[in-house]
């Protein structure tokens, strides 16, 4: 297959959510001598954007988008060693993007968090998922341990939203706040609330979260701490 045919096949594999084929095609593209960054951009990222826009128009359903994201992840896994070798970071930033993600203390809702986490992985962010009912100290510990530059929190209960503020404060107290961008989300979370607690942004759904994280990452994240 030539380049154009390969990119077409990658797009088809992503749209069909076929992770196995996506991974195999990534390997084939590398063997064909295509540039890893170009395979990522023209092959996978643009396909994901296409899927995202179809989802936003209501043409694709959520599981179809999630499977597409999994297919992109499979392609990324194959490309990754060559991308790192080229010293390239997908988001174009200086440091690789690492996001510590969790549902805050007292809260067990994780559907939204899982959706956002999967989509983030598909744009090359390494997601450290702390699960649900996560105390502020665990966010702090994980940011330190994994050198994270992004923090994502989810809360679905009005009674657990205050725990988001505690995480922001704990990161401040640990001297880590300046090194991370913080996104918060979940049905009851509003822009005003995000601002009030000192987070950097919020989004109403998965694609919104993807755009939010991309814009946060582009805002000169100081890098791994």
């Amino acid at each position: 297959m030539d380049g154009a045919a390969l990119y077409g096949a990658i797009r088809a594999a992503v749209v069909e959510g076929d992770a196995e084929r996506a991974g195999a095609l990534a390997g084939e593209a590398l063997r064909a001598g295509l540039d890893p960054l170009e395979i990522l951009d023209r092959g996978f990222t643009s396909s994901l954007r296409h899927v995202g826009s179809c989802w936003e128009k209501g043409e694709l359903y959520l599981p179809e988008m999630m499977l597409a994201a999994e297919a992109v992840k499979a392609g990324l896994a194959v490309l990754k060693p060559r991308l790192s070798a080229a010293g390239a970071s997908k988001a174009g930033g200086a440091a690789p993007l690492v996001c510590v993600m969790g549902t805050v203390a007292g809260d067990i809702h994780d559907i939204g968090k899982n959706i956002v986490g999967t989509l983030l992985e598909a744009i090359g962010v390494r997601v450290v998922d702390l699960g649900t009912d996560v105390e502020a100290s665990r966010f702090v510990g994980a940011v330190r341990e994994h050198g994270a530059n992004l923090v994502g929190m989810s809360a679905l209960l009005t009674s657990t939203m205050p725990a988001m503020r505690q995480v922001v404060e704990a990161l401040e107290a640990a001297g880590l706040r300046r090194g991370v961008r913080i996104a918060v989300g979940g049905a009851p979370v509003t822009k005003a609330f995000a601002q009030e607690i000192g987070a950097d942004g919020t989004a109403a759904d998965g694609m919104g979260a993807l755009r939010l994280f991309q814009s946060l990452a582009a805002k000169e994240v100081p890098g791994a701490v």
Partner: protein, 467 residues
């Protein structure tokens, strides 16, 4: 009237599959939690990874300890909802973080005052027998929020209150104390309050919520053992798949409650749901939800537990003991007082539509037909007079009316406006007897907690609805 969502054989197939899942896959809980410790002490094996495999024989033996009849009492000894399979009791919906303000129409965060007003309105609406905590009061301080919500609800309705936002053991302990105060004063004869706890689909136990539910069970207060899986998100992407997940989770959790507190009153609470395929959010408008709720009712009945479900009409035909319907918008996140009034009318109609219509000489009215003969009308017959009060007169849905009347009504606003006016009228005029003074004092002490009462919260409690 009976509508069979499942055949007897299908009921057995679902039950067998649920037992298989509980044994092979099991439930998960944090292995170091107090809950895991208690279950280990009771002889169950929780693996170091937190897996709890429950053999079929264990489940069946534990379910056999659960009572078939559960009594949900009012706080003054009247209005007990006896869940014994003979009648369907209706609860309001809950629990909205937002409220549409009935005066300004503004959509704002819910408050204790909304608890007060919605409880009072529910008290006035005869077809609701149980007040499900309709909102989470954002203005009540944590961790006393749920205690204050309960006290506020109890002040404004004598009907049974079911808490749905309690998910910490200390919150449960406070409410158990309040229920004890009501019982010790002699005011409440049956449990005046119960709580709902959900298994976290798929197949996870929330230790906080479970501990809270166990505190209720220990005090003899009923627990709604709930599962609300969402097909395609937290359950297989089919109606039977969602049903299976809910059945497995409910019987698994019920068996644990019965192991620790044999004979504790538990309600089989099955809300199998479906996702909005685009967003993953629960989609109340998926019509298969009605099938699933009816099927869940059958599953609960098959294990001889009182059943609580949602899903409106179809499940009503299966005769659940309790049915949740009304008052909230936007997938149960926004309280609307006018919606509660409108839904109350729908509840009445649903109950009537599912009521049996006996066929006998009187109801056939053959004599009346003879009297009237061909032509003529039945309007001035004694037979008609005997039955005319059985007829439903719609107040808030569009009645047929002359053009001029319709124009006058339109000038006064939509049916929604009329419902809102009715809600405000009932809140202002409906009288609720006060809580027994001694019990009220004890409950206030609990709700005030260790810190001093907040004057602004009390100020909102101004009549007619008491916060």
């Amino acid at each position: 009237m009976r509508f069979e969502a499942l055949t007897g054989q299908e009921t057995k197939t679902v039950h067998r599959a649920a037992l298989q899942i509980l044994e092979e896959v099991g439930l998960h809980l944090p292995p170091a939690s107090t809950l895991a410790g208690r279950l280990r002490e009771a002889g169950l094996q929780v693996t170091p990874e937190g897996r709890l495999h429950l053999p079929a024989s264990f489940i069946e033996a534990a379910l056999a300890k659960a009572p078939r009849v559960v009594r949900l009492g009012g706080r003054d000894g009247r209005e007990t909802a006896v869940l014994d399979g003979r009648r369907t009791f209706i609860t309001t919906d809950g629990c909205g973080a937002w409220t549409i303000d009935p005066e300004s129409g503004e959509r704002r965060a819910s408050t204790l005052d909304d608890v007060a007003r919605s409880a009072r309105l529910t008290d006035a609406l005869e077809h609701y027998q149980v007040y499900w905590m309709m909102v989470s009061a954002g203005d009540a301080p944590l961790p006393l929020r749920t205690a204050r919500e309960y006290l506020t609800a109890a002040r404004n309705t004598t009907k049974h209150v079911q808490m749905i936002d309690v998910h910490r053991p200390e919150e449960a302990a406070a409410i158990v104390k309040m229920a004890r105060a009501l019982r010790e004063s002699g005011a409440a004869t049956d449990a005046p309050v119960s709580m709902l706890n959900s298994v976290v689909s798929p197949l996870r136990l929330d230790p906080g919520g479970c501990e809270a539910a166990l505190a209720f069970a220990a005090a003899g207060l009923p627990v709604a053992a709930c599962s609300m899986p969402i097909a395609s998100v937290t359950a297989p992407a089919t109606a039977p798949g969602s049903l299976l997940m809910s059945h497995a989770e409910i019987i698994g959790f019920t068996a644990l409650v019965q192991t620790l507190y044999p004979g504790a009153p538990v309600i089989y609470t099955g809300f199998p749901a479906f996702a909005d395929a685009r967003t993953g959010i629960t989609n109340y408008r998926d019509p298969r939800r009605w099938w699933a709720a009816a099927a869940a009712t059958q599953m609960g009945q098959s294990v001889r537990l009182p059943v609580f479900t949602s899903g409106e009409l179809a499940s009503l035909l299966e005769h659940p003991d309790m049915l949740c319907f009304g008052g909230l918008l936007e997938v149960s996140t926004v309280l609307s007082f006018e919606q509660l009034v409108i839904d109350h009318e729908i509840v009445r109609d649903m109950l009537l539509s599912a009521a049996p219509q006996p066929v006998d000489d009187e109801t056939l009215g053959v004599d009346a037909v003879r009297e009237v003969g061909p032509g003529g009308h039945f309007l001035s017959r004694r037979h008609t007079l005997r039955h005319i009060r059985e007829f439903v007169v719609p107040k808030f849905s569009e009645p047929a009316r002359p053009v001029e009347r319709a124009e006058q009504d339109a000038a006064r606003g939509s049916p929604g406006d009329a419902a809102r006016r009715e809600a405000l009228r009932l809140i202002a005029t409906h009288a609720v007897p006060p809580i027994d003074a001694r019990a009220a004092a004890a409950m206030e002490r609990v709700a005030d907690g260790p810190e001093p009462a907040r004057p602004e919260t009390r100020a909102r409690s101004s009549p007619p609805a008491k916060s």
